[in-house]
């Protein structure tokens, strides 16, 4: 469930039955596929691009209840991964989802301990690969995590039919090989809008309504504990791996698309298939319907590889191209090893023509294919049409590069209009102008937008909820105290233990600012333990303030974020007080996106009943503004912008508040706290004004008009 988006409409499509057409987004198709696979429990932790997986399930409590499916939002990804432990002892199918690589890293401990004993019920991890264009995290691939723990990894072709089919088969693969499966879905695959033919949902045999009477018997072999861990390590390679390879081969999980150019071939993970086919089509090596001239081995399963399949595909060919994003090139290395052992002399191209780093988009793939074709002596396809396509591609790229002499200004994401977190950074800018620069440990969350202009703050980002911990060895070496920024989402995710408790334990002396806005806002406003409303509209009832008090945090303040002057004073005290120990400032302000959504409803309701509604906004007298833009450097609000100077004698643009202003008050606070200029005003429109409002307004207008010599 998320405050940002309601999935009521989508919930309906989760009920589709045999033969009906499902239209929708990739990640919702996965959700439907889980229900078609008879999943008994689903969990996860929010994060783009897989937030909607849980959001939609939480919005469909009724259906889940009918189906007897248990849905849980993990406190973090480790909790979600540990939840899969249910499939170790019981024949329950379960799935969890998170943003990878970060989520997989957090979950790693539980995943290792899950993979070692293995599962009897199918266990599926939906890994939203936040990799390439639009990604918001460190760029690493998840494959190595699957390989080290002997979990299988699927990477289906990005069309809804294949994705759904792969979900269903993954559960079977998991069960026949007793191994958890990771399914990686790239950003665009998660958001792809397409269609597939639905099947009936399957009620899990054991479910929340038809429960099991007794727990599983004690079985030491199901524990990740010595001495059985040594046996489990052997089981992974001696039993589970061959079982998996047999299933993959027999059920045709990987696909071979044959073609007439028999001396060459391409091995590609399913996820890259659509981009590849389009490039091949433009080079005259395929058509738009997937009929390829150059044979393809499409790996919908990228771990484990099936050696027979590789040797069968490569044997008799001069060369193959392996397309694999990231490094090291695990697939290419394995394929080389497989061919070497089988004494097959087929040349293997891969990272020699493809880049070691970065997403394989159309441009990269085009260049890689050209490299492959050239390396193979232009012996693939029709040289004339290939050259023509290459020239067209280069001309388009060159023309684009020449379009502008200078780089265009970037437009990274930023704090929303009226965001409660922005004022805290205005205050941080002001206090640093006063006391000098301090070390700022940044964190994951919307507040990381402060690393962009106009704030440009933050010395490091070490992971979600890790800011305070990351300052532990900085603070002892600085004259001034360091400041760590943490969101409430990060605090509950793990900042409480790694940061607060760690600092208390070590008697650390630094400052922690917790942004309390009530949601994990960056991921779509999912609820957290301290949200006003949680599942089913009920209040979870946990409080950051009380938690910190119970830990005995010696110095604790709560400041309304928009009170910039008060925040500056509080920060000054935190930075300069002789008192030792952790100092925590809770910066309190509801996520403005959520607030506006709430207010829209409330206002509409009030207006319908003729009630009084105040709508504040800010404005700037363009005659008073001189166009220095100090206010913008201190605020950065999207609605505080510039416009051409109406003064014909001045050229610099003046500041301007556009119609998106929500009247948060920061402009007024900042112009006071920073003594900016008298240009700002707040205009409060009152709809359905009361008698007193109207009388006062009438009198005022009359007198003012009279004073100005105008007819009232």
């Amino acid at each position: 469930m998320s405050a940002e988006r309601s999935f009521r409409k989508e919930v309906e499509s989760l009920r589709l039955g045999d033969g009906e057409i499902f239209h929708g987004e990739g990640i919702l198709a996965v959700t439907k596929a889980l229900l078609q696979s008879g999943v008994a429990y689903v969990g996860g932790y929010q994060g783009a691009p897989v937030s909607h997986l849980l959001d939609v399930l939480l919005d469909s409590e009724e259906l889940m209840d009918e189906m007897g499916v248990h849905v849980e939002t993990g406190a973090n990804e480790a909790a979600a991964a540990a939840m899969l432990g249910a499939s170790i002892n019981y024949p329950l199918r379960g799935a969890v989802g998170w943003k990878s690589i970060v989520g997989t890293n957090v979950a790693a401990d539980a995943l290792s301990n899950l993979a070692s004993p293995g599962v009897v019920g199918g266990a599926l991890i939906i890994s939203g690969e936040d990799y390439g264009e639009g990604a918001s995290i460190i760029q690493e691939r998840t494959l190595s995590m699957a390989m080290k723990s002997s979990m299988w990894m699927v990477d289906p072709r990005p069309n809804l039919t294949t994705i759904v089919d792969t979900v269903e088969k993954s559960f079977e693969l998991s069960e026949v090989s007793n191994t958890p499966i990771i399914m990686q879905l790239r950003i665009r695959a998660c958001h792809v809008q397409g269609r597939f033919v639905a099947k009936d949902n399957r009620k899990p045999p054991i479910n929340t309504r038809e429960r099991k009477k007794d727990p599983a018997p004690f079985e030491y072999a199901r524990l990740a504990h010595p001495p059985v861990t040594f046996i489990q390590e052997k089981l992974k390679v001696e039993q589970r791996l061959p079982a998996a390879q047999k299933y993959i081969r027999e059920k045709g999980l990987n696909e071979i698309f044959d073609g007439d150019i028999s001396r060459h071939g391409i091995i590609v993970p399913g996820g890259l298939y659509n981009t590849l086919i389009r490039r091949l089509a433009r080079l005259g090596l395929a058509d738009d319907f997937g009929n390829t001239r150059i044979p393809l081995l499409v790996l919908n399963v990228i771990h484990p590889l099936v050696p027979d399949q590789i040797t069968d595909f490569c044997a008799g060919r001069d060369a193959v191209l392996v397309m694999e994003e990231g490094n090291p090139e695990y697939l290419e290395h394995q394929i080389n090893g497989i061919l070497r052992k089988a004494d097959i002399q087929t040349r293997v191209h891969g990272k020699d023509v493809m880049p070691m780093a970065g997403e394989y988009n159309a441009t990269v793939m085009h260049k890689g294919l050209m490299g492959f074709i050239e390396a193979e002596g232009l012996g693939i396809g029709d040289p004339a049409s290939i050259r023509e396509e290459d020239q067209r591609f280069s001309a388009a790229l060159d023309g684009a590069a020449d379009a502008f002499p200078a780089p265009l200004p970037p437009r990274p994401p930023q704090f929303c209009t009226g965001c409660p977190e922005r004022p805290v950074f205005s205050a941080l800018k002001l206090i640093q102008a006063e006391v000098g620069k301090v070390h700022i440990a940044a964190d994951i969350g919307c507040h990381a937008f402060a690393t962009f202009e106009p704030f440009s703050m933050g010395n490091s980002i070490l992971g979600y909820g890790m800011s305070l911990a990351s300052a532990a060895a900085v603070a002892p070496f600085q004259d001034k105290r360091s400041i760590s920024i943490m969101g409430d989402g990060g605090f509950w995710h793990n900042g409480l233990t790694t940061g607060v408790i760690g600092t208390m334990l070590n008697e650390g002396d630094s400052v922690l600012v917790i942004m309390q806005n009530g949601f994990t806002s960056a991921t779509g406003q999912q609820f957290i333990p301290s949200s006003e409303k949680g599942r089913g509209g009920r209040k979870p009832g946990m409080s950051i303030e009380k938690t910190l008090q119970s830990l005995g945090v010696p110095w604790l303040r709560k400041v309304r974020t928009y009170s910039v002057s008060e925040m500056v004073d509080t920060l000054r005290e935190a930075l300069t007080t002789p008192e030792k120990g952790l100092k925590v400032i809770i910066a309190d302000g509801e996520c403005q996106l959520a607030r506006q959504r709430r207010l829209r409803g409330e206002h509409a309701e009030k207006l319908k009943q003729g009630g009084r509604v105040e709508l504040p906004r800010f404005g700037i007298d363009d005659e008073v503004c001189t166009g220095d833009h100090s206010c913008i450097r201190l605020s950065g609000c999207p609605s505080l912008t510039i416009k051409p100077n109406p003064d014909p004698l001045r050229s610099d643009p003046v500041a301007n508040v556009n119609n998106n202003c929500v009247g948060c008050g920061l402009c007024g606070e900042v112009s006071h706290a920073a003594t900016l200029c008298p240009s700002f005003y707040r205009a409060e429109r009152v709809r359905n004004p009361g008698i007193v409002d109207r009388a006062v307004a009438g009198l005022r207008n009359g007198v003012i008009n009279l004073l100005q010599g105008r007819a009232a």
């Binding site: 684009a400 166009g627 220095d628 008298p678 429109r685 307004a697 005022r700």
Partner: protein, 504 residues
């Protein structure tokens, strides 16, 4: 037509790009055509630049039979049929990325700008050149549909996404009937009237049926009466080409002070009347701005102008019957008091302040309801101090500073018109209030000391000084900490001065 029809939409997060994508997908689906759309929302949805990509196969499923087209998830360079952007810079960004090409792409873009932070936060003018963006849009695409979608959205009360949808539907490149889109909007049932109005506006614009509206330039001081004597001076003593600037300038200064003050302006400008036209233009412009400096009285004048409350009222979108309360944010300190104190008294105050930090830093933040009678009266009283302005400390300081600046321009004129123009242009640095004003003034003096005075004394070659002053002025506007200016001056200052600085 062979192959898919590829549509790339560039938008800013939160603009409704997702809704737009759904509309297009639904229209294609309702036309029984294969369609696939992808996006990279992630955190970009928080007002950052983002794109949506849609491929439509222009045959129906019935026509396709067993064949299933493989549609791509991301755009490829030079393979976009329709590119649509709700903002001009974002069009430029995708042009730069190669997704708009002269042999294939129809480009639809709004001409309005939503400025990026990097453009907004500069101390001077950091805006990208719109003309270059429009030029590139023309050069790099096959055909263009360019119009102000923000304007169209405001007029129709629709979200900009509806206007953009109309333009896409009307561009003639989609294999989908426009009526299908209307059906989609109706079926969704949200803000149907407004969205349909926005859709039709976009549709008309794409079909070239939109009426072009002329905007009238607004003269703020049109209500000011200019005496025939001053009008005659403007007409007779100055070249024709400058009359527009002078007409505005004298109105501005009569409004600021009185007719005599406007006369002083013309007196001061007189010596430049027959010289280089560029110099006359530069001095005329900056002198009028400098003479109408931003003291407390001027702020009060601006905030009590007839019509201001009506303008603000309109800005809030207030309907008849709604009330609007306007609150001003003022924070006067010692400097602002000296704006209105007589010269001698202000000197005493400032002498005390020099010794007392508490007094020096004294400020009073106040929120003043200017739509109330008492609030309005307070501001009117302040504005009324205009008649004593000539005796104030601030007025005297400004006149001294203006005369010094004019003196330098005058001296420079004898050496080189270019040098004189550069000095005149440095007035651009002096603007704003409190810290901003002192920073600008101090930057001006740094350039004066390092370059202008030495140039006038013949210690620096003229062309070197001209280049140096221009560079230093840009540097002064580069960052509020003055780092770029220090660097710029260090480059321009002669080696012996650098040594002197190093010795200090």
């Amino acid at each position: 037509m062979t192959g898919s029809v590829n549509l790339l939409v560039a938008a800013l997060g939160g603009e409704g790009g997702g809704v737009l994508t759904s509309w297009v997908v639904n229209a294609a689906r309702d036309s029984d055509m294969p369609v696939q759309a992808t996006s990279i929302p992630g955190v970009a949805q928080r007002t950052g630049a983002t794109t949506y990509y849609i491929e439509i196969w222009p045959e129906t499923w019935a026509e396709l039979g067993d064949r299933q087209p493989v549609l791509a998830l991301s755009p490829a360079v030079g393979e976009v049929d329709i590119f649509a952007s709700s903002e001009l810079l974002e069009a430029g960004r995708q042009i730069q990325a190669g997704y708009v090409s002269p042999d294939r792409t129809l480009l639809i873009s709004s001409t309005n700008r939503v400025y990026a932070t990097a453009e907004k936060m500069q101390m001077g003018d950091g805006r990208s050149d719109d003309k270059k963006l429009v030029q590139a849009a023309g050069d790099r695409s096959q055909t263009q549909v360019l119009f102000d979608m923000e304007d169209a959205a405001r007029e129709s009360g629709a979200h900009v996404s509806a206007v953009l949808l109309g333009a896409i539907a009307g561009c003639g490149r989609l294999p989908i009937d426009a009526e299908k889109f209307r059906e989609g909007i109706r079926a969704e049932g949200k803000a149907v009237e407004a969205n349909l109005a926005g859709f039709e506006a976009g549709l008309k614009a794409a079909r070239g049926e939109m009426a072009v509206r002329e905007t009238q330039p607004h003269e703020r001081y049109s209500g000011v009466t200019v005496s025939s004597q001053i009008a005659a001076r403007v007409r007779d003593s100055f070249p024709n080409g400058i009359s527009g600037t002078l007409d505005h300038a004298v109105r501005r200064l009569i409004d600021f002070q009185d007719a005599a003050y406007a006369g002083l302006y013309l007196d001061r400008l007189g010596e430049f009347a027959d010289g280089d036209a560029r110099l006359l233009q530069a001095v005329a412009r900056h002198l009028a701005v400098r003479m109408s400096f931003e003291d407390v009285i001027r702020v009060a004048q601006a905030k009590t102008r007839p019509g201001r409350l009506d303008r603000i009222r309109a800005e809030t979108g207030a309907n008849v019957g709604d009330t609007v309360v306007v609150t001003e944010f003022l924070k006067p300190g010692i400097a602002e008091f000296c704006d209105v104190l007589p010269d001698r008294i202000a000197r005493l105050v400032l002498a005390r302040a020099a010794k007392s930090e508490a007094l020096r830093n004294w400020q009073k933040g106040m929120e003043l309801n200017s739509s109330s009678i008492t609030g309005h009266l307070k501001l009117r009283m302040l504005a009324g101090l205009r008649r004593w302005r000539r005796g104030t400390w601030r007025f005297r300081r400004e006149q001294e500073s203006i005369d010094a600046w004019l003196g330098m321009i005058s001296d420079a004129k004898a050496l080189s018109d270019d040098l004189a123009i550069e000095i005149a242009e440095c007035a651009r640095l002096i603007k704003g209030y409190s810290d901003t004003h002192s920073r600008g003034t101090s930057n001006f003096h740094r350039i004066e000391e390092a370059l202008i005075r030495p140039a006038l004394a013949g210690e620096i070659a003229i062309d070197e000084a001209v280049r140096g002053i221009a560079a230093a002025r840009e540097a002064a506007l580069a960052d509020p900490d003055g780092n770029a200016l220090s660097q710029s001056l260090a480059e321009e200052v002669r080696p012996e001065e650098l040594q002197k600085e190093a010795a200090e």
